[in-house]
């Protein structure tokens, strides 16, 4: 839950927040791609370190840290699996795979923590993705916190009726989640109908050519940032391929 909450957008303002979302998407993609240049743990560690100033400038370092704390079980699992099913001679291979995951998350955290869902939607529209899908995407993000709040209420309600989630073997526990999942799903489906009706009554889908309140503008700053990202990515890529990394 905590990891999911990491992707929740909170209003903020920083040079990174103000960047064109397209530039940030490119950044996330470039750094995710760089993970695959080399499987050397030291190179990947460098990649991670390079990301940190960006998080600091974007004033989201703390939230990123929180998000990572939430992801610790998953990170531990990835590490454990790689150690158990080793194809490498040393531990660094497992470290490298784990780092890959962390960098992947970090690169996208930069995007999601500093970009409003609306901005992301605008990019999707620019990419000619039908607006219905774009809307589904923004709503999915928008409803994560609502859903987690509702889930908590339902858990509280059923616990008040004597449901003990902590007790029993795995099968029993799965069965015990039915009284929680059913109200949640029914409630959400009902809500989606209400939402659809409310939107239609405000004219959603009236015209094919929607206009937008905000228009994206590609400024000089964006161009410079884009250039920096590309140059640094290519540089790091070449470095990863050519330099002899110690481990």
């Amino acid at each position: 839950m905590r990891m999911l909450r990491g992707f929740e957008y909170l209003r903020g303002d920083s040079p990174i927040h103000r960047l064109d979302p397209r530039v940030k998407i490119l950044y996330s993609l470039a750094y995710s791609a760089l993970c695959f240049v080399s499987l050397k743990a030291s190179f990947l560690a460098l990649l991670l370190v390079v990301n940190i100033p960006i998080l600091v400038i974007g004033k989201v370092f703390k939230r990123w840290l929180n998000m990572m704390k939430g992801a610790v079980p998953l990170i531990a699992l990835i590490f454990l699996f790689n150690v158990l099913f080793q194809r490498f001679n040393n531990i660094y291979g497992a470290v490298a795979y784990t780092l890959r995951f962390i960098i992947f998350m970090t690169a996208f955290a930069v995007l999601f923590l500093t970009t409003t869902p609306e901005d992301l939607a605008l990019v999707m529209v620019k990419l000619k993705i039908p607006y219905e899908y774009t809307l589904a995407f923004t709503m999915a993000i928008r409803f994560v916190p609502t859903l987690s709040r509702e889930l908590q209420i339902i858990i509280d309600t059923q616990r008040s009726r004597g449901l003990e989630l902590e007790k029993g073997n795995i099968l029993e526990r799965i069965r015990k989640y039915m009284p929680i999942l059913i109200p949640l799903i029914v409630h959400e489906i009902r809500r989606s109908y209400t939402l659809a009706e409310a939107m239609e009554s405000r004219g959603f889908g009236y015209t094919k050519n929607r206009t937008y309140y905000y228009e994206m503008k590609f400024t000089k700053k964006d161009a410079v940032s884009l250039l920096c990202i590309m140059v640094s990515a290519v540089f790091l890529g070449i470095l990863g391929k050519t330099l002899l990394w110690p481990f």
Partner: protein, 285 residues
């Protein structure tokens, strides 16, 4: 015989994890066996947070809460639930079973009752709640008022000492509210403690005699409804609208000198009639 206290709250402080502000700031409260009491206050005053401490869903950060002598910090929700039945605001957050009967039996199953006995008990309570005819239908197909009664039935079924209703009147029409009041009175007359969390001033004025008023995490007033709800200062502080009848009586006092401490309509009407018949000045009008 002095009544024993069933809920004892001492210097309770609480804040939600990762939040900065205290939601409850040093609450002290004693509720006695057989009390019928309303906890009032605006949204965000801490009413629901407080009652969530009564069955251990939330545990105090400072201070303690004792329910029927049990310290909530030392017992699980399931253990405390046997004493405290908490009915949440929205029935849609709890309904999941395929039939009304199954829904009612859920708590009994959790408490490990024998199925036959549980079934008998569930039917009994459904009959009292006027839901027996729907026994085999889906709870999702019930009306708003019926759903509310079902959620109350699904808690009353295991006969808790204390019944807590969180915002029971929200979304209920007048008839349903009256029915709700009858149920509350009936349960209370059996000697059970009933706590109603609400900001429905009119409902409290009409049906509940004792009230606790909360504002911003503290209790700002406690006492008889007729006194507390007619105190403009308290009502202002709690951001609650005074009950209409209270306003009417106050105006009557100012204009024709008719005095009284009325919040219930039938009592008021009867007294006003009596007063009008006896008052010489008014007779001529």
């Amino acid at each position: 015989m002095p009544r024993r206290s069933v809920i004892e709250v001492r210097d309770l402080w609480y804040k939600y994890p990762e939040a900065k502000e205290w939601v409850l700031k040093g609450i002290n409260l004693t509720i006695k066996e057989g009390d019928l009491i309303a906890i009032m206050g605006e949204n965000g005053a801490g009413k629901t947070t407080l009652v969530k401490h009564f069955n251990g869903i939330l545990k105090p950060d400072k201070g303690y809460v004792k329910v029927c002598g049990l310290d909530t910090r030392e017992h699980t929700v399931a253990e405390l639930a046997k004493y405290v039945g908490l009915v949440f605001q929205n029935p849609d957050h709890q309904i999941f079973a395929s039939t009304v009967l199954e829904e009612t039996m859920f708590a009994l199953r959790n408490f490990g009752w024998d199925p036959e006995r549980a079934k008998r008990r569930a039917k009994e309570i459904l009959k009292k709640m006027g839901l027996l005819d729907y026994m085999n239908t889906s709870p999702f197909s019930l009306s708003g008022g019926e759903k509310k009664r079902l959620t109350i039935a699904s808690v009353l079924v295991y006969d808790p000492e204390i019944l807590i209703l969180d915002e029971p009147t929200v979304g209920q029409d007048y008839g349903q509210k009256r029915r709700l009041a009858e149920i509350i009175e009936r349960i209370n007359s059996l000697g059970k403690t009933v706590i109603v969390v609400t900001h429905d001033v009119e409902f409290v004025a009409e049906y509940i005699e004792h009230v606790i008023v909360m504002s911003r995490g503290t209790i700002i007033a406690e006492g008889e409804t007729t006194k507390v709800l007619r105190d403009d200062n308290i009502m202002k502080k709690a951001r609650l609208l005074p009950p209409q009848l209270g306003v009417v009586v106050k105006n009557l006092e100012d204009y024709i000198g008719f005095k009284g401490n009325f919040l219930r309509l039938p009592v008021f009407v009867e007294n006003l009639r009596g007063w009008l018949e006896n008052d010489e000045d008014v007779k001529g009008i």
